[in-house]
């Protein structure tokens, strides 16, 4: 295993000036694993903790609990300096293509930053060559190095961000909503590039997105999150083909189909009510306030992740009662 996390939790201190503070549990009890060259998709709605989880896995957000192993070595509790040494192998691509590039640096300087940190002895000329090669690898002219980020379109800026992430040939790249800010017509370009790079360089991805159709394209495994908890995880085809958790099913059912004939006559089952505040999540099953199947025990006991099929894990008391293949839940 490249990366393995058990019962990971991340807490943020919110509000409270000098004295009082409240804590928000952004990720709670998340377990996952990722093998070399694989892609773990993380899906869920805004605020469910996807980004926080992705950042925590590479040391950009502090873990409050849990065990994290990178190539077998424990890395939870590592100091900032310890993490810095690992950054050669762990990189990230951000959601905001322009915002993740320093406006006062040339594209070349931004892409070269990891090189400057990890291979400071490299000559200027050698560094320039490496930057040029990497830019060309992501589909930009080598001459782009001398220009500034604001001269490029969103899709091109995302390519620059990807070039910076792969210039050291890392082993894991966290992609946090890498195509969400892009026009539909160029989203595919970036997804295809990521796929090629994975195959060429043997990268592994943690691919975070709220767009289920995009996640499906790249992932080998998928994790579904809700309010900081993992609801379901498993091989891609199982999650998309035989979703078991009520939340996963409703999430998949909500995705619109670009066909007026179908879309207009469709009835959906959607989560009722509103997303509870992450500051005071429901006890028991966090999804129970919106779940059409919720019953008394859902409030009493928190469902643990249990294996429904090899590698396919789900946190729900009643998953067996909802026949697979059907998209309408049985009566309450």
């Amino acid at each position: 295993m490249l990366l393995e996390g058990r019962d990971l939790a991340v807490r943020y201190r919110v509000s409270g000036g000098l004295l009082r503070s409240r804590w928000l549990t952004a990720v709670d009890g998340a377990s996952l694993s990722l093998s070399s060259g694989g892609t773990l998709g993380v899906v869920g709605e805004s605020g469910c903790g996807k980004s926080t989880l992705g950042r925590a896995l590479i040391g950009l957000a502090p873990l409050a609990a849990g065990e994290l192993r990178w190539q077998g070595q424990r890395v939870d509790g590592l100091s900032a300096r310890g993490w810095r040494r690992l950054r050669r192998e762990l990189q990230i691509v951000f959601q905001d293509p322009l915002g993740s590039l320093d406006p006062r640096m040339t594209v070349g300087q931004s892409v070269a930053e990891p090189l400057a940190v990890f291979e400071p002895s490299l000559s200027r000329a050698a560094r320039r060559t490496r930057v040029g090669e990497t830019l060309e690898r992501v589909g930009l002219p080598a001459g782009a190095a001398d220009r500034y980020p604001h001269e490029f379109s969103g899709g091109q800026c995302q390519r620059i961000g990807i070039a910076r992430a792969v210039i050291l040939k890392p082993r894991l790249v966290v992609c946090d909503e890498p195509v969400s800010a892009l026009d539909v017509s160029v989203q595919g370009q970036v997804v295809n590039l990521l796929r090629e790079l994975r195959d060429d360089l043997g990268l592994a991805y943690l691919f975070i997105s709220h767009n289920l159709a995009v996640v499906r394209h790249l992932s080998t495994e998928v994790v579904v999150m809700y309010l900081g908890r993992v609801m379901e995880s498993g091989p891609r085809d199982a999650i998309y083909g035989r979703p078991l958790h009520p939340y996963t099913r409703m999430l998949l059912d909500a995705v619109p189909v670009a066909d007026p004939q179908i879309e207009r006559h469709r009835t959906r089952t959607l989560p009722s009510g509103e997303l509870p505040s992450p500051l005071s999540p429901p006890d028991g099953c966090v999804f129970r306030t919106r779940c059409p199947l919720a019953e008394a025990r859902c409030a009493e006991r928190r469902p643990l992740l249990q294996e429904a099929a090899p590698g396919h894990r789900i946190a729900c008391h009643r998953w067996r009662e909802w026949p697979t293949g059907l998209n309408t839940p049985p009566d309450r």
Binding site: H210, V257, A258
Partner: protein, 321 residues
């Protein structure tokens, strides 16, 4: 008579880098009760078209051409615009928080929308506000009336913004990316809400969005914009089934779907979205697989009946993409 009519509408902005023409001649007619969707990439001029039509352009922008609501010209007529906004045309924005007044409670906000135009008493306005919240399926409407916009979730906020726009019972509702900031499940709820409201209130709806899935669920007619111009327009069913403009076809093909073939790479439109520059030919020709020498001259929007396309080599109407 059409409810809203735009004729060769142009929108120009003065910027540091010179003049920028965001909308380059839009013709559009919205009939009472119909739902028209305007789609296109970011920067294609979707929002500016409607902001110009309702007199809400930024200070450095100017609109020219003709805009008429129920036959009355609106362009450069601030008094008439003020009268039409609200009971004539309602507006819902992507950023619901930005469009609600932060220091007013939801109840006060909704009541105000009514009081301004109809001179209704405060008590009646409040009753009406409560009914409207129920109408847009806001959970626990009584509690909401006393809350402030920032205390609401994104989905509820958007519903409140819709309710506020609906209070004066507009004959036309313009919704600019109303679901873009929302999660899929909430988006699906809001789309269902719009469909339901249209059926019960009979208002016309102009929907601006880049999300073709949302369009499919709502629109009767679709207008596709590229670089400030309409490149294709037609009834939704026909346009989705057999797009004629290469850009429309490309956009539909590029849309990620849950049943995409995973063995193949994702379909895309090559190249980058166009900048603001002036161009004599077809703006799409740098990205178009069908471009020829003729495309150096800009094609006119032409066609029969309700379907029009601006392309020298339109796709076969029967053939799909």
């Amino acid at each position: 008579m059409a409810l809203l009519e735009l004729e060769s509408l142009h929108v120009r902005f003065r910027t540091r880098e010179g003049e920028l023409e965001a909308v380059r001649g839009m013709d559009l007619a919205v009939e009472p009760g119909e739902c028209v969707a305007i789609v296109g990439e970011s920067g294609s001029g979707k929002s500016q078209t409607l902001l110009a039509a309702t007199g809400m352009l930024a200070a450095n922008g100017t609109a020219s051409g003709r805009v008429a609501f129920e036959g009355e010209s609106l362009l450069g007529q601030p008094a008439r615009l003020a009268r039409v906004r609200g009971p004539g045309i309602g507006y819902v924005f992507q950023d619901a928080l930005g469009s609600l007044t932060p220091h007013l409670t939801v109840g006060a906000q909704l009541a105000e929308a009514l009081a301004v135009h109809h001179g209704v008493s405060a008590a009646d306005a409040r009753t009406e506000a409560r009914r409207m919240l129920e109408r847009v399926q806001v959970p626990d409407p009584d509690a909401r009336l006393g809350q402030y916009p920032h205390e609401l979730s994104g989905g509820t906020r958007q519903r409140v913004a819709i309710a506020a726009a609906l209070m004066p019972q507009p004959r036309l509702l313009i919704a600019d990316e109303p679901t873009t900031a929302l999660d899929v499940t909430v988006q699906a709820q809001v789309v269902a809400l719009f469909r339901d409201l249209r059926a019960s209130l009979g208002m016309a709806l102009v929907l601006v969005t880049h999300d073709l899935g949302v369009v499919a669920g709502l629109a009767d007619r679709v207008i596709v914009m590229y670089a400030g111009r309409i490149v294709e327009e037609g009834p939704a069913v026909a346009l989705f089934a057999s797009p004629r403009h290469p850009y429309t076809a490309g956009l539909l093909a590029a849309l990620p779907r849950l049943d995409d073939d995973l063995a193949a790479p994702m379909r895309t439109i090559p190249g980058v979205p166009p900048g603001a520059g002036r161009d004599a030919g077809c703006a799409f020709r740098y990205r178009c697989g069908h471009a020829s020498g003729r495309c150096e001259v800009r094609p006119d929007l032409a066609g029969s009946g309700s379907s029009r396309v601006a392309c020298h080599h339109p796709r076969d109407p029967g053939g799909g993409s």
